[in-house]
Amino acid sequence: MTEGNHLASTRRAVLAGAMAMAAAPLMPRPVAAREVPSLAADVAAGRLPPLAERLPEEPLVVQPVERIGRYGGTWRAGLRGGGDTIGLIRMLGYEPLVAWDREWRNVVPHLATAWEVSDEARVYTFRLRRGVRWSDGKPFTAEDIAFVVNDLFAHPDWPGGAPTWLRSGGAGPRAEVVDAHTLRLVFRAPHGLLLQHLATGRGTELTMYQRAHCAQFHPATNPNVEQLVREGNHRNWVALFQARCGQVFTAQRWQPTIPTLNAWIPETPYTGATQVLNFRRNPFYWKVDPEGNQLPYLDRVSFRISDSVEDLTLRAMAGEIDMQDRHIATLANRAVFHDNRERGGYRFFEVVPDLYNAVALMLNQTHRDPVMRSVLGNREVRRALSHAINRREIIDAVFVGQGRPWGLGSRPESPLYQPGVGEAHTVFDRALANRLLDEAGLRNRDRQGFRLLPDGRRFSIEVMIIPAVRPEWGDAAEMIQRDWRQVGVELRIATIDRTLMEERRNRNEFDALIWEGSAGLGEALQPDHFLPSSWWSAFGIAWFRWVQSPTHPDAMEPPAHVKRQLALYDEMLRSADPAVQAERMKEIIRIASDQLYAIGIVLPPNGYGIVRNTFRNVPASMPGSWSWPHPGPVQTSQFFLA
């Protein structure tokens, strides 16, 4: 399992240690390491072991974005309202087994230094970084991860079981501890996308539980758990466990008493009463800069918890926020932030959204009504409806001229970008639209000029929208309604509650819906719009049913092009080779675009964040996604105050 080793026979090391942080090869143990100034007193007093004993034998060497930083200072930012734990994971909790590089191109070593993938991607063997310690000084080993996989996810009481991203063939893996630093994950079916999923925000769930601490609250390892459950007045052992050891998406996990691998440790628990959440540095953090200085550079993190975006915005403008894009970086605020740059002493950074479209209108191709199904299922009808839309006008009126006409296809920034795919079928051409609709057998019209379906009913489409999610959807839908009226197609706009929308969608009782087009950068990780792969694949709910269970009464057998996509996706799961996966995914997206699974309007323009001029090592541009949980993969521990 050495660096860059490709074994062609039965096993193949797909990616190994060599890629550590782009340019930096695995260096020999950096020397010249000096004690962190703010910890020196504790070390001198014997309250903390010296640096050499705290750092792992092979610390992760993080290449700074700009330059080697200096120690000290506080990162100030704002959290919003109830349990903004996703924000915390993104900023402070991105410590997965394997991580994304800064460009979102490759999966690179992190807590695992190397890995091996079996043929058919069923068995993954990870070699863990030696000598990594939890924030309480206890060693991090393969047992910690095996505990999560075998004792939590596989336990019948654990809510939801193994997370979906970790499943293949319907079940989670079995973890085998080969030795203290070698872990094997054995899957029932091929899971070629595991490494990518491990590098997303969700992957951090595997590395957030220290076995030594958490086993106290687990029935398999502590026979007296029932007593603790009763004493704490908990519902069951899971509730006790989550209260004392945390759970990935709850505020509870941010407690000083829970050992962590993160760079900073909370000083007080994060509760509903918290007004400011303060963190101090983890003295056992396992990353260093190229000169051997232990990270993080910043001693403290202080997040103000605010209920109002206006409050956070004013604080940011006043220079009281060091780096942030969450909550405050709205389209409307951009001009205000721009005007106050000098006063607040900050600069902008760019955030490239993981969206291929701001408006993705999906027509239900597996409609329950056979006539509607034959019409909406007709590619030429969908093409006509796409060409009938004047996208430029919508962009100017609704999106203040920002963004360009776009259909379904990867963003130009994506490695999977293919010229012409996103642009396909987006030219405004009313004559073509009319001709295509005529040829599709929709020539007859009623008195009001609307086209008639073959059975004599009016060709009328109801689109479900939730303006609460994105206020622009209502305006955009009205302009599409007007454009389609011009070619004789009626669009009825149903503003609907989210729960109801999901219910109607899942029951396959709808004509069309509008949602945001994801994903535009991390396509393989969220392929909902590209092939029937989840409940969000609204273009073909009955096909998705068929994928899940061909015998389900609502299932419909998909046509050849969908089956081709499913076969391609299957190849992706069986091959852990990123190059092969990229080729397969490209073809899947080409088919989705060609078949207009979604009629898109606009490629969303880049977002932004603000960062104080004195706050350094923040890249000028980064992706914005949960699959690349920004700014986590930038390595926030190398941020510093100049």
């Binding site: 109830g82 979906t164 007045n233 519902r235 007080t268 509903g272 006043a318 989210r498």
Partner: protein
């Protein structure tokens, strides 16, 4: 009187039961539950959850039982051991979450109330006594402005002004560095330095109302014979006004004091959110939005209780003052 008291208390308990049931039902009324609200919030962050995970969530929170079943369990826990249940969102006992915030609300609102009365009283009297003078017009204009400008706008304007003038946003009730500090002199000084802004915002709106009511009441009194008689006997004008007609004019306001009790917690919701105050309002709003049933339910129950208590107090005061009420 004892019978009257008993009847009132009996009605109070019955109303409380009704309020708690309605509160619980109303929170459950919107489609979906905490699980769906949670899933929606997660999705806004790019985290997509599957049906299985959602079902697991529902089971973990005990959301799969019927409405009445859960209501009964909730009420029983409150009555039997004062347990208001767990907040879904924070996974903490509700009582750990609300009392600190309710206390903070009371401090802010009471201060606002005192300021409001202290300022509104003299202005109201002045504008009645000096009717149609420049001062009256100024007070009227100010009053209507205060009434017409929404609280949140005033708060936003104040925050922006503070940002332009001092370079710092005016929000919260303490500077960051004092928030986890003990309540020593320095923190109290800092607290007072922050308190004036929300108090100003909250007091302005109520003040306008108070001025108008007081002015109208007083105008009715000023022309009554007893005032003329007192004046004819040579009582100094100031003493006369404050001693007789003002006291009478205050009566309707005093009898509505009971209704102020629940507003001690609830009236600052919007201002609390905009100015990011650690008061009860923002927590209540969030609990309602995330359909955090027990947390929101506890708040509404508390407010209902205060409203009923207020009414009972008003009734008792009225009964003390006016014998006709208690004999009916």
């Amino acid at each position: 009187m004892a019978l009257f008291l008993l009847r009132r208390l009996g009605a109070m308990v019955a109303t409380l039961v009704a309020i708690s049931l309605i509160a619980f039902a109303v929170i459950e009324l919107p489609p979906g539950d905490f699980a769906t609200a949670y899933v929606a919030a997660m999705q806004a962050n790019g985290v997509v959850m599957t049906e299985e995970e959602i079902a697991g969530l529902r089971a973990a929170y005990g959301l799969d039982g019927g409405l009445l079943e859960r209501y009964a369990a909730w009420i029983w826990a409150i009555l039997s051991r004062g347990d208001f249940g767990q907040s879904f969102e924070w996974r903490q006992p509700v009582s750990d979450l609300i009392w600190g915030r309710v206390g903070m609300s009371m401090v802010v609102e009471l201060t606002a109330l005192v300021v409001m009365w202290c300022v509104a009283l003299p202005i109201g009297v002045y504008s009645a006594v000096r009717r149609y003078t420049v001062g009256d017009y100024a007070a009227t204009l100010f009053g209507f402005l205060g009434l017409a400008v929404p609280n949140f706008l005033l708060a936003l304007g104040l925050m922006y002004l503070s940002f332009r003038l001092t370079g710092s946003a005016l929000s919260g009730l303490n500077d960051d560095r004092f928030i986890d500090a003990p309540w020593d002199a320095a923190r109290i000084a800092d607290f007072l330095a922050h308190l004036w802004a929300p108090v100003l915002v909250l007091a302005t709106a109520g003040m306008a109302h108070l001025i108008r009511v007081l002015r109208a009441n007083l105008l009715d009194e000023l022309n009554k014979p007893y005032v003329v008689a007192a004046r004819a006997r040579g009582l100094p004008e100031g003493r006369l006004i404050w001693k007789y007609p003002v006291r009478v004019a205050l009566n309707p306001l005093v009898s509505s004091i009971g209704l102020l009790l629940p507003t001690l917690i609830s009236s600052s919701v919007v201002v609390g959110v905009v100015m990011s105050l650690p008061t009860a309002g923002p927590l209540l709003l969030r609990a309602l939005m995330s359909q955090d049933t027990y947390l929101a339910g506890a708040f509404i129950l508390l407010m209902g209780t205060l409203a009923i208590l207020g009414t009972v107090i008003s009734d008792l005061l009225l009964a003390l003052v006016d014998p006709r009420v208690r004999h009916r």
